[in-house]
Symmetry: C2
Subunit: 219 residues, 2 copies
Amino acid sequence: MKPGNIPVPAVRRLSLYLRQLDNLWRDDQRTISSRQLGDALKLTDAQVRKDLAYFGQFGQPGIGYNVEELIARIRGILGTDRMWNVLLVGAGHLGMALSAHRGFARKGFRVVAVFDDDKAKIGKRVPSLEGVTIQPVEEIARAVREKDIRLAIIAVPGEAAQGVTDRLLAAGVRGLLNFAPVSLDVDTAVAVSSVDLAVQLEQLSFQVGAAASLEDVKK
Amino acid sequence: MKPGNIPVPAVRRLSLYLRQLDNLWRDDQRTISSRQLGDALKLTDAQVRKDLAYFGQFGQPGIGYNVEELIARIRGILGTDRMWNVLLVGAGHLGMALSAHRGFARKGFRVVAVFDDDKAKIGKRVPSLEGVTIQPVEEIARAVREKDIRLAIIAVPGEAAQGVTDRLLAAGVRGLLNFAPVSLDVDTAVAVSSVDLAVQLEQLSFQVGAAASLEDVKK
DNA sequence: TAGTGTGAATGGATTCACAGCC
DNA sequence: GGCTGTGAATCCATTCACACTA
């Protein structure tokens, strides 16, 4: 099937398939069926097959999918078959944790520059990143240009997030991973992915609370 | 409308409405229409009205919604109108950043216990949390019992995540916020929310890459 | 006039079910 | 017999459009 109408949720699941396949590969599994893959992720086998079919014909009837090949294919689709230089704005606790995050490096994302507007932090080394020092946000445009940076991580307080965003867009960044608890106003050509940590807990609070309420009703 | 068929996406948006309303309140706005709220979050006005209508009739025709009241109502629905004691497993970079996260406290989530299986860390103070020291994971069940903990944050490496999960479930935890890059196997009665940081960047990589491919096609 | 709440219509995503292949 | 790829059927969320209210 040719592109043109790939459901967004399918792309999200693609990342999960890849993650699961990486784990299977490490456990020496060389082949897998849509059913097995679906079971592990709590999806139906049809869902898995349809998702993969949006991008091509990767499986073999009677056999399943070749794990190694499927990993390579999905990486190619997601664009993680190459390195991505990423910059980080915000050198607080969260920013520093992200700069040290092994998971990024494993997938080919390299944090190559870190920015903050706190004078006291500027010039300091980032412990987890060889040769990276904290720079003032005014230097963002230069870094984007010189280091071919397309993605940025925003780990600043909510009040500062839109200003940082404007600066990043002006510098030509193409995708934003936003941890600030605000809805960013961006040009439609830019990709934004937001993670609000408190919202995640809030959703759990709802689910746990709602379950409790249902039990109350039963009584 | 009575509960029974509330779309999951509607509940997710509820958190975003609340966040936006908090910001509006701080900016002294006392009333808001579904259109204004939708514009800020890039949703249609109909979407906003329908979402809110799942939970009750909060608006006034001709006027809109009272910001203060709506905040209170949504808090009540999400269950964040009270404090939640939360525990954290994993005292690495990410775990420590989460323990210091102001956003949790602001929403009423209090990290009251921290666990790790690294002998070198046990007994150490958690700098950002008054009176909290790192305990061995064996103490989880006791803490859950003594401190009425219902939610847990998992910030351990992938290999350790399922083991920690089993322990948390055995201790009676009701909701998990998982940062480990694995799909957890849990009882259906337990709520799980997963955040895979690398997956977020991967999705951006796809979007940025796909946009580039489309341009290539045009040429 | 401005704006909500909601049944009906639409549009998408998921699941079904089966032809075809190993 | 086991498993993929895919049209068709189903299910669910979003949008439309309008009666109704302040």
